[in-house]
């Protein structure tokens, strides 16, 4: 993907200004088959065949995860699957899912780095609420990543394991300058904004209802992360009347 970020800006401002061109996302094809793949993801355990196909099933927006006892991601339920690619390039809903997964990898790695830094004392004294937040947000983003990868692999594509290539170096540079809890919270806030803005941008572009529900359910949690981060930073926790999309990576 191409980036429109300005290298002359300081790292945090560059992160704020970085946008990824949506031209690389091909929204015109592949949506229907990806929708079927989304339907396949959750129910595929018992039905998957070696070539990646599975039997059809019914869809339910929210399903308990039988293996963990926890609530599974919305939109990852039974159905059929088919690859949503054109000449090897992801298209439609699948392209958005891959973009989302790349952002989630970045969030997981950044929160993990923050947790490690906090544990080593590199951030100074970490208030209990902040430590709890980092652990919780890390687990949330790992769950989000797992959910997207579940549907991506069900569509016949490889799971996403690398962070968003355009944002990762900017975040790494910014994180290198973080020396305290406040700095870490500001970086986390930016990452959460990029994520939730991207999901809001993606929702009208997604066609499969299950994909919309999954994106929306994550958008909500990422917005809520921001409220607590804002509160910690001494800012008003609901600053916008309407959620914005200006930091969207899509």
């Amino acid at each position: 993907m191409t980036t429109e970020s300005n290298p002359q800006l300081p790292p945090l401002e560059r992160l704020q200004s970085t946008t990824l061109s949506r031209r690389k996302l091909i929204f015109t094809t592949g949506t229907a088959v990806f929708g079927a793949a989304l339907l396949a993801a959750c129910g595929s355990d018992a039905n998957d065949s070696a070539d990646g196909t599975s039997n059809s099933g019914t869809s339910a927006g929210t399903t308990p995860d039988a293996t963990t006892g926890t609530t599974a991601a919305p939109g990852t339920t039974a159905g059929e699957e088919a690859p949503a690619t054109t000449d090897g390039e992801a298209t439609g809903d699948l392209a958005i899912a891959q973009l989302a997964a790349g952002l989630e990898v970045l969030a997981v790695s950044t929160y993990q780095s923050a947790a490690d830094a906090a544990g080593s004392g590199a951030l100074g004294e970490v208030p209990p609420a902040v430590g709890e937040y980092v652990a919780t947000a890390l687990a949330h983003h790992q769950a989000h990543l797992d959910a997207w990868n579940k549907v991506i692999t069900a569509a016949g594509s490889d799971e996403v394991t690398e962070p968003n290539a355009e944002l990762a170096p900017v975040v790494a540079e910014q994180f290198a300058g973080v020396t305290d809890v406040i700095g870490a919270a500001k970086l986390a806030l930016e990452l959460e904004m990029v994520a939730s803005h991207t999901y809001l941008t993606a929702i009208p572009l997604l066609e499969a209802p299950e994909a919309i529900e999954l994106a929306g359910s994550i958008q909500i949690v990422d917005q809520q992360h921001q409220s607590i981060l804002l509160f910690v930073l001494g800012e008003y926790p609901v600053p916008d009347v309407f959620q914005k999309t200006d930091k969207s990576a899509a």
Partner: protein, 284 residues
């Protein structure tokens, strides 16, 4: 308790500025919707659309979260009322998109009315200054949402809804006599925010209109933040931490749970009891 009134005032001013910025973007969105209205005419929802709406709600109903049910005032009665609605065919004669927009308007009207009533209660009016300011700002934000949904409805050639949602009005009516403390009010407000958030999440999967998705998604992203704040405030009130409900707060003094109580699950799943049926707020 220490309140930095000047800082809070500054933050509220910034929020108001953001309100106006957001509203400036609305005309562009609405022009797209007007184009759509001319193209689509007075389309009525197909029976299959309504069937799909109710079928998806029935599916979601199989996964009601106990924690949500506990927060929802009058939850049991509400589930019964909703089960009745879910079980019968939709009778409204507007397109499903319009019905959902009208119902959204009705939820926003109910939220505005409820926050207004709460602000009249002595223990809110003279209570924690941050809670009061939050209620005032949130009421204003809901009113902006109401206006946006109404404008979108009208731009699609339909009548705007300005009455509170009758299904959840009953819940509020039952709760009001029981509001004796701030935490009672916070819990009621949280229940309404949860209804809005989950209704909009569900509706996003049903809309055909792009502008409606954009608007509802952007409103959903704010209602869920109201909910997060209210959950955190409720936890602090419940745990004797009212003094920490201030902006800026004493972060070091916050209990660990403050870092997680506002988002108990990694995904905001849909509880059917919290989804306002599309026809519930439709203009007949």
């Amino acid at each position: 308790m220490t309140i930095d009134d000047r800082r809070l005032g500054e933050l509220l001013t910034e929020s108001n500025d953001l309100h106006h910025d957001a509203l400036r973007t609305m005309p562009a969105t609405l022009s797209d919707v007007r184009d759509y209205a001319h193209e689509s005419g007075d389309r009525r929802p197909e029976p299959a659309e309504l069937e799909t709406f109710n079928r998806r709600r029935m599916q979601a109903a199989t996964h009601i979260r106990d924690s949500n049910g506990a927060r929802l005032v009058g939850g049991a009665a509400l589930v019964g009322a909703l089960a009745t609605l879910v079980g019968r065919p939709a009778l409204a004669d507007q397109a499903l998109d319009i019905q959902m927009l009208q119902t959204a308007s009705s939820l926003e009207r109910l939220a505005v009315n409820t926050y207004k009533a709460a602000l009249g209660l002595p223990f809110i009016a003279s209570g924690n200054a941050t809670v009061k300011a939050f209620a005032e700002t949130t009421m204003s934000q809901h009113d902006e949402h109401r206006q946006a949904f109404q404008a979108l409805t009208e731009s699609m050639g339909a009548t705007a809804q300005d009455e509170p949602n009758p299904v959840f009005q009953k819940v509020v009516d039952e709760a009001v006599p029981t509001l004796m403390t701030p935490i009672d009010v916070v819990n009621l407000a949280a229940a309404l925010e949860e209804v809005a958030t989950e209704t909009y999440l569900f509706d996003l999967t049903m809309f055909e209109d792009t502008a409606a998705k954009e608007l509802m998604g952007s409103v959903m992203g704010v209602e869920c933040q109201h909910l997060a704040v209210l959950l955190a405030v409720a936890a602090l009130l419940d745990g004797g931490g009212e003094a920490l409900i201030m902006i800026p707060t004493d972060v070091a003094a916050l209990p660990a749970a403050a870092g997680s109580v506002a988002f108990p699950e990694p995904f905001n799943t849909i509880n059917d009891a919290n989804v306002a049926p599309a026809e519930s707020g439709a203009v007949s």
